[in-house]
């Protein structure tokens, strides 16, 4: 019986993914596996030897470049591994970079441009298993692992999909289904007396959807969060513990901390990674209305940073009330996204703390103790979460922050462009429908499959067809 059945194997396309968990500092690795792995590596790697010419299990220093150019993305170490002694038992390339997650995504993107497909969650493990690398006895464990990974990635993806983004994608889908219904009804019911939407309407709608997708893609491509990191500026009056907070967030002693007010005189900035969100932290000079020229210069710089901030952490001493300087500072930051951080919780009396909490009732606040590093993880979480739903220009625009989603939207957009072209060239409707279906399916990868039945439903609800 079993002889008739081929063993499952996937001698198919080449896949790529970032294989180190995001947000964990140090090295990050982009992994490419499959028939074309070396060819793809050749296209995006510049070093002394071509990856395809390199012996198995060798490491090479070089740089990853933008496809077809010499524009450098990052310096990397590239490892070439020939089958069968690789994790997947396929040709395998690993590119390690110590860059931020943003750099890793850039490298992954180039691998994709060069012909790789984004790996599905758990796909490396699946291939390793199907190609016999993992013991059959472990099948259950592998199945569980793949399920766990899929569930997790779905959860993460869904968390990105809340609100506005999912609303937008759904409206693109609705529009596309409507357009497709308008085309398909003309194809499948040519003899009916129908009034489908005309070409101008469809072209306009396609432009709208394309524009919408472009806008989303912009938030990804140009999104300053991923490009420059989220600019997080720490402000507060002197000696409240701003520098201590910076150090606590960085988990290293970067800024000088003393009991003397006015220790920090100039802005200190440092990169960090909060749960996969690249962050640029700024520690500033204590805010005080002063006549001292040096200090005044510092304050000026603080104000400048406030102006460029994506988010402000306003540090307040939990053991004392707000003074005049702080009320002035509050005015300065009012119109910016900010989090109130009550520091020195260990010193604050119950009374003073509850007074401050009442005072900031309607604002986001976090209680921490910078020197004992308490409450820091909570704060990091809060900042990372804010970044995900980050308002790009306060117009309710949303940020596309999932690479898989971006990939799908790019394909959707390509389908739309082709459909538009065919439509202007007056090609027959079935060709236009083909590309629109591709566009729709790509959106479906993000928000759930659209099936033929959905289009038929639309046809039957909008058009009186049938004899």
């Amino acid at each position: 019986m079993k002889k008739n059945f081929k063993s499952t194997s996937l001698d198919e396309d080449t896949i790529a993914a970032i294989s180190t968990p995001l947000g964990e500092g140090g090295l990050g690795v982009v992994r490419i596996s499959g028939r074309e792995a070396f060819v793809i590596a050749d296209k995006i790697f510049r070093g002394k030897v071509k990856p395809s010419k390199a012996p198995s299990h060798t490491v090479h220093y070089g740089k990853v470049v933008v496809l077809n150019t010499d524009e450098e993305i990052d310096e990397v170490l590239l490892t070439v591994m020939h089958p069968p002694k690789t994790y997947t038992k396929e040709p395998l390339v690993e590119i390690s970079s110590h860059g931020s997650s943003f750099i890793l995504y850039k490298i992954l993107n180039q691998a994709k441009e060069a012909g790789a497909r984004l790996a599905n969650p758990g796909e490396f493990t699946l291939r390793a298993f199907l190609n016999g690398r993992i013991d059959l006895a472990q099948a259950e464990a592998v199945a569980e692992l793949i399920k766990a990974k899929t569930d997790l990635s779905l959860k993460v993806a869904l968390s990105h999909l809340k609100g506005e983004l999912s609303f937008k994608l759904n409206s693109f889908r609705e529009n596309l289904i409507e357009i497709l219904a308008n085309l398909e009804v003309q194809i499948d019911f040519p003899e009916e007396d129908l009034e489908p939407k005309d070409k101008e309407y469809i072209l306009k709608e396609l432009d709208n959807i394309k524009g919408g997708i472009d806008k989303l893609l912009d938030t990804y491509d140009e999104g300053k969060i991923l490009k420059d990191g989220l600019r997080v500026v720490i402000v507060g009056k002197p000696n409240v513990g701003k520098s201590s907070l910076l150090n606590a967030l960085l988990k290293e002693e970067r800024a000088i901390v003393t009991p003397v007010p006015g220790t920090t005189r100039d802005v200190i900035s440092e990169d960090a990674n909060f749960k996969g969100v690249p962050v640029r932290l700024f520690d500033t000079a204590g805010f005080r209305v002063s006549k001292d020229t040096i200090e005044a210069e510092g304050i000026k710089r603080t104000k400048l940073e406030i102006g460029k901030a994506d988010m402000i952490l306003w540090v307040v001493d939990a053991s004392s009330g707000l003074d005049k300087d702080e009320l002035e500072l509050e005015k300065q930051i009012e119109s910016f996204k900010h989090v109130v951080v009550l520091n020195k919780i260990d010193l604050g009396s119950e009374d003073s703390i509850s007074k401050l909490l009442d005072r900031f009732e309607n604002k986001i606040y976090k209680e921490i103790c910078a020197i004992k590093r308490e409450g820091i993880e909570d704060l990091i979480d809060a900042v990372a979460k804010e970044a995900i739903t980050f308002d790009r220009d306060a117009n309710g625009d949303v940020v596309l922050s999932n690479f898989r989603h971006k990939d799908a939207l790019l394909r959707s957009k390509e389908g739309l462009s082709k459909a538009k072209k065919s439509l202007t060239e007056k090609l027959s409707l079935e060709f236009i429908a083909l590309d629109l279906r591709i566009a729709l399916d790509a959106i479906g990868e993000i928000i759930g499959k659209t099936v033929t039945e959905d289009i038929l439903n639309k046809i039957f609800s909008d058009f009186c067809v049938g004899k």
Partner: protein
């Protein structure tokens, strides 16, 4: 019980469009086949409109023909008007349709059956499928005669517990004027089959002598139509007209005022009807804004004055039907010869079938046609021939014949049915086929004829003609790619052409306004090729880019399709699936990972998990 002396290989119950194809396929493949019908006078009856083909359905007929089926051939013989629909669009969605003489269709099909070697044709009312130890072994008739066989194919259309509604009146019937089958489905239900209920409708028939055709718009067929069948040498010279007229506000008013006497709107009908074939009352209610609806008056045949009113399916009471129809332009004085009616009938949700159309519950029992929840002669015929072929293959212990979605509309049809089931009568649409551009009428032979020939359903002669045609097409395509001409011969240059001095004829053909005929003017070596071939060459080159893209998709698609799941693969003990996915997988029991991936509720993650378990299972 009297048992008939001879045992058959295969018994086919029902001689409708599915039954005829099934029985012919079995007999032609050499099996001793018994075809039973409750009425020998209504074999291959067109119980709805007297036409074959139409969008996606024309493709199905050509596919049946390429496999060696009969439907196309009979349509050609019985046709009274032929037309290709969608001519303004691209060739992938051109579909042929023919108006047929209802009586001639029956007569010619019966002739084919009666002259078929290995085929016994008998009139009998079947009351029960005999099942022994989970295997079909024959049937029992209402006069207690048993006929034994190794395989039974059930193809009994709307006859299972059929109930006709006209107004608030209703009565059991197979279709107008015929006995229903009242015990067959109950017996199968007792055996464990799930049974559902569907509804379909048909319009009244009119006396043509009482129609004022001057008030209607004549609808012509094509002047030089092409036959459906490769077997047809020449189409009959019959060019009947259809006529278009419309309902109006008055019609709608009468219908709306009498909805309380409609079984649909008073809740008497429980079965689910097809949305693509709504009754006139449905159209009027759901699209109140629409001032008029099209009605096509279609002649029923050469030797009758009856007309079929396509677009006016109804189950309103007879007096309301008449009152309403007489408001229509041209029909003011019309006489109704038969009222329209709705019929409710039992069907077996088709997820109970394997892709071979054999039931999962009873071995060697096959279902095809309307009892699987489809509608349409073409859909029925397609299942019939597939059930017939697979029944024979099963008997001979040969691997099953399952067409892929990328190969044929037949593949799409059966895969949809057995993977997703259906809630309303299932009709084929071109939009159901993801690889529509390659599933064309013109290349049905290229897609399927080899199979038909291999099974012995297609004659040597047809096969050799096909081979020859294929060779000419390939050579001509090659030639067009080789022969270069100066761009100066083209009056207007496209932007891209300005970069070339000489281009191939194939390149030129890809320019939207240039046709294959135009090439002959520039190309001195061109030889006259038959129209059929010219068309195919033209479109394969013209749309090469799209076809290539579709073919790439097909390659990807085939990977998962070729990962087969053995029938004894069990899901119960397996870990890692979502609960819903596991239940669905168990239920459908897909034959391939590809089919599994199309089950609703099964995610890509589940498919990965399935591959893991499958690998382990197959390595053991």
């Amino acid at each position: 019980m009297i048992t008939y002396e001879e045992k058959f290989d295969i018994i086919v119950v029902g001689a409708g469009h599915a039954g005829c194809e099934a029985a012919l396929a079995c007999a032609r493949m050499g099996c001793k086949t018994l075809l039973l019908t409750s009425n020998k006078e209504t074999i291959a009856q067109m119980s709805c409109n007297p036409a074959v083909g139409g969008l996606a359905k024309g493709q199905l007929v050509k596919e049946i023909d390429a496999l060696g089926g009969e439907m196309g051939f009979i349509t050609d013989k019985a046709g009274i008007q032929f037309k290709t629909l969608n001519k303004k669009k691209g060739p992938a969605v051109w579909s042929s349709r023919a108006q047929c003489d209802r009586v001639l269709y029956r007569v010619y099909m019966r002739e084919s059956l009666e002259n078929q070697k290995n085929l016994w044709l008998k009139q009998a009312i079947v009351t029960e499928v005999l099942i022994d130890n989970g295997k079909a072994k024959g049937i029992l008739t209402n006069i207690n005669s048993a006929y034994l066989s190794d395989v039974v194919i059930l193809v009994c259309g709307t006859f299972l517990n059929g109930l006709i509604h006209i107004g608030l009146e209703n009565f059991p019937a197979g279709r107008a004027g015929e006995f229903p089958s009242l015990t067959l489905s109950d017996k199968l239900k007792e055996y464990g089959f799930e049974v559902g209920r569907l509804k379909t409708g048909t319009p009244p028939r009119l006396d043509g002598k009482t129609i004022d055709f001057s008030k209607t718009i004549p609808q012509y067929g094509d002047e030089n139509p092409k036959p459906f069948s490769l077997k047809t040498k020449k189409l009959p010279e019959r060019h009947y007209l259809c006529h278009l007229t419309h309902t109006n506000g008055e019609t709608h008013k009468i219908i709306l005022a009498n909805l309380d006497r409609s079984p649909l709107y008073s809740g008497v009908i429980k079965g689910i009807g097809p949305r693509y074939c709504p009754s006139i009352e449905d159209k009027v209610v759901k699209f109140r804004g629409k001032p008029r609806h099209q009605l096509f008056l279609e002649p029923e045949g050469e030797n009758t004055t009856e007309y079929y009113v396509n677009g006016f399916a109804t189950s309103l009471s007879e007096d309301v039907q008449l009152k309403a129809i007489r408001t229509v332009s041209g029909l003011e004085k019309v006489e109704m010869t038969r009222p329209g009616y709705a019929i409710e009938y039992d069907f077996f949700p088709p997820t109970q079938l394997n892709p071979t159309l054999e039931t999962k519950l009873v071995e060697n029992l096959f279902f095809a046609g309307q009892i699987n929840g489809t509608s349409g002669y073409e859909e029925a015929g397609a299942q019939g021939i597939m059930a017939g072929i697979n029944a024979v293959l099963k008997l001979r212990k040969k691997p099953p014949f399952v067409l892929k979605r990328c190969e044929a509309y037949i593949g799409v049809l059966i895969d949809d049915l057995v993977t997703k089931g259906t809630k309303e009568p299932y009709r084929m649409f071109t939009s159901r086929a993801e690889h529509r551009l390659v599933l064309r009428e013109d290349n049905a032979d290229q897609r399927l004829l080899e199979y038909g020939y291999k099974f012995g359903l297609v004659s040597e002669k047809i096969y050799l003609e096909f081979k020859k045609r294929k060779g000419i097409i390939e050579n001509e395509k090659k030639r067009l790619k080789k022969v270069k001409v100066s761009v100066s011969v083209f009056g207007k240059l496209t932007e891209d052409m300005e970069n070339h001095k000489r281009v191939s004829l194939a390149y030129a053909l890809k320019i939207p306004d240039i046709t294959y005929k135009d090439l002959a003017k520039i190309d001195k070596d061109s030889k006259e090729v038959p129209q059929r071939i010219a068309e195919q060459v033209e479109l394969e080159i013209k749309y090469e880019g799209y076809i290539k893209r579709q073919n790439q998709e097909i390659e990807k698609f085939k990977r998962l399709e070729s990962m087969l799941i053995p029938p004894d693969f069990k899901y119960d003990e397996l870990t890692g699936f979502k609960h819903e996915a596991k239940e669905k997988l168990k239920d459908v029991n897909p034959i391939s990972v590809g089919q599994a991936s199309r089950i609703s509720g099964v995610s890509p993650g589940d498919i990965a998990v399935l591959m893991v378990h499958l690998k382990k299972f197959l390595s053991k």
